[in-house]
C-alpha cells in the first residue's frame, strides 16, 4: 500500500475520532484537548497534501489559540477546579 495513503488513513481516523470526542466529552477541558488533537491532525493532513505553509500556519494559529479557549473554559464556566469524581459519573 502507498505510504501516503496509509498516513492519510491513519490521520483521518484519528481526526474524526478526536472530532467526535470534542462534542461527546463530559468535561470541557477534555473537549479542548481533543480539539487541539483535531486541529494538529488537520495541519498534518495539509502537510501531507504538499501544502506545508498552510499546514504550519494551521498549527501555529489554531492549535496556538487552544490555550486561550482553555482559559475561557476554566474561568467563565465553573467555580470549582473540577467536580468531585463521583459527581462526574
Amino acid at each position: 500500500m502507498d505510504a501516503d495513503l496509509a498516513a492519510f488513513l491513519i490521520l483521518s481516523v484519528v481526526e474524526i475520532a478526536a472530532a467526535y470526542l470534542v462534542v461527546s466529552s463530559k468535561r470541557l477541558v477534555h473537549s479542548v484537548f481533543w480539539l487541539s488533537v483535531t486541529l494538529v491532525t488537520i495541519g498534518a493532513i495539509y502537510i501531507l497534501l504538499r501544502a506545508e505553509f498552510l499546514g504550519l500556519i494551521q498549527i501555529i494559529a489554531y492549535a496556538g489559540a487552544v490555550p486561550i479557549l482553555f482559559l475561557f473554559g476554566i474561568m467563565l464556566t465553573r467555580r470549582k477546579i473540577m467536580e468531585e469524581p463521583h459527581e462526574a459519573e
Binding site: R27, V29, H30, F33, S36, V40, G43, E52, F53, L56, I57, I59, I60, A63, G64, V66, P67, I68, F70, L71, I74, I81, M82, E84, P85
Partner: protein, 452 residues
Amino acid sequence: MSGHIVDLFGYSHALMGWLMARAHDAISGIGSGLAGPAPPVADGLSNMGAVLVAPWFITLQTWLIAVTAVIMWCTAVNLLLMMWMERKFYSRLHDRVGIKIGLTSMGFLANIPILGRLFTNFVKRPSHLGTGFLQNVADGVKLVQKENITPAKADRFTFHVAPVLIAVSTLLIFAGIPFSEGFALMKEPNADGLPSNPLGILFILAAFGLAPIGILIGGWSSNNKYTLLGGMRSAAMLLSYEIPLILSIVAVVVLTGSLDPFEIVRQQTQGLGEAMPPLSFLPGSGAAPLYIPNWFFLVQFPAFLVFFIAALAEQERIPFDLPEAEAELVEGWLTEYSGMRFGLVFGFKWLRGLAGSALLVILFLGGWTGPALATPWSIPTDTGTVPILLPPQELWFMLKVYGVFFLWVWISWTFPRVRIDQILNIGWKKLIPLALLAIFLSIALRLFGVYR
C-alpha cells in the same frame, strides 16, 4: 565555506546499508549451507533477506537512525551537559563548589586490579573529588526508581497525557533545528545544490507553540489550587511572550526574505562591507575594508534584545519563573507530578533553553560560521568531499549555543523574580513596541536598498 564533519543522513545510510548487507549475507548463508532441496523455511528466509537490502527498508532504517541520533544528541549529551554547567556555574556564583559526584566518586572502581590504583586516593573522601558530572545521572536514576503517584482526585487521563504532550512537542523542535550544514534532520538541496529547508523557522515556531497546552492541562488535571494557579500564570506568560518572540523573528525574516535557517545563516557569512557600504577603518588604504561578519545582532540589535529576553521567559527561568514561584506556589504547575514524570516535565525546560539558544544563534549570531583554519584532510559526504576545518561547524555552533546559555544562567541567578503585573507590563508595553520598531528598521533597510 563549508566545513561540517557530521553528515547525518550520509552516515546513517552507510551504517544501515553495511549492517543490512551483513544480515542479508548471514541469512542467505543459513539456507545455502543445507544439503539437498531447500526446505520452505529457507525460502522465507531468503525473502526476508531480500527485504533487508531493499531500498525502501534501508531508507526507513536510515530515518530511524537519524532521528534517534538527534534525540540522543539533544537529551543524553546536551541536556546533561547543560544541567551540569548550570549547577556548577551558579554554585560558583554562590561562592561554593557545588556538585562533585563524578567517575572518581564511585568507590567500587578502586577494586579494579591495576587501574584501581588511580582511584585509591579518592576512596577516602569519595564525594569531594569528582567533577560533578554524574550527579545529574544519579538524580535521574533516583527519579526513575521513585513511585509515580497519581493524586486520587486528579483527572487521570489528562494528568497522564500532559507530560507526554510537553516532551513530544519539545523534542519536535529539534527536528527543525540544524546544528550544522550536515547535522540536520530536515534538509534538502535547493536549486543551487546548497542545503535548505524552506519553512524551517515556521516549523520551529509551530513546535514551540504547542507546549502551553500541555502545561495548562497538566496544571488543571492535578486538581490542586497551586498547580492551577501555576498553569494559569504560565499560560499568561508564555502566550504574552510568544508574541514579541515571533515579531522579533519576523524582523529577521523581513531582512533576509527567507524562512530558511540555512539561507539566514548563509546571508550572515558575507562581510558587513559587502551587504552595506564598505567600512574602512584604516585611513589612506583603499584596499581591504575591515571584515566584520554580517551577524544580525549588529544590524538588528532591538530584535536581538527582544528575542533574548522573550526566549529567557519562554523557558520559565528565574527572572520569569513565577509559574513555579517556590515561595508562593510550592512547585507551580508540576507540584503533583512525581517520579520520572516530574523528571520529564522538569528536564524539558533545559531542552527549551537549548532550542531557544540554538534559534538565537541561527538568527542573530551567525549560526555555525566563524573563523577557522584549513586542514589538509577532507571527508566524503553525500555532495562530494568537504574539507575539514579546524574548529568545525558543529563546534562553532555549540560554542555559541553554550555562550548564550551561559549568559541566561548568569542572568537567572543574579536577578530577583519579576512580579506578575510587571511581567505583563514588560511583555506588552516594552518588548512588543521594541519588536515593532525592529520590523520597521528591517523594512527601512530593505526599502533603501542597504539589503538587496
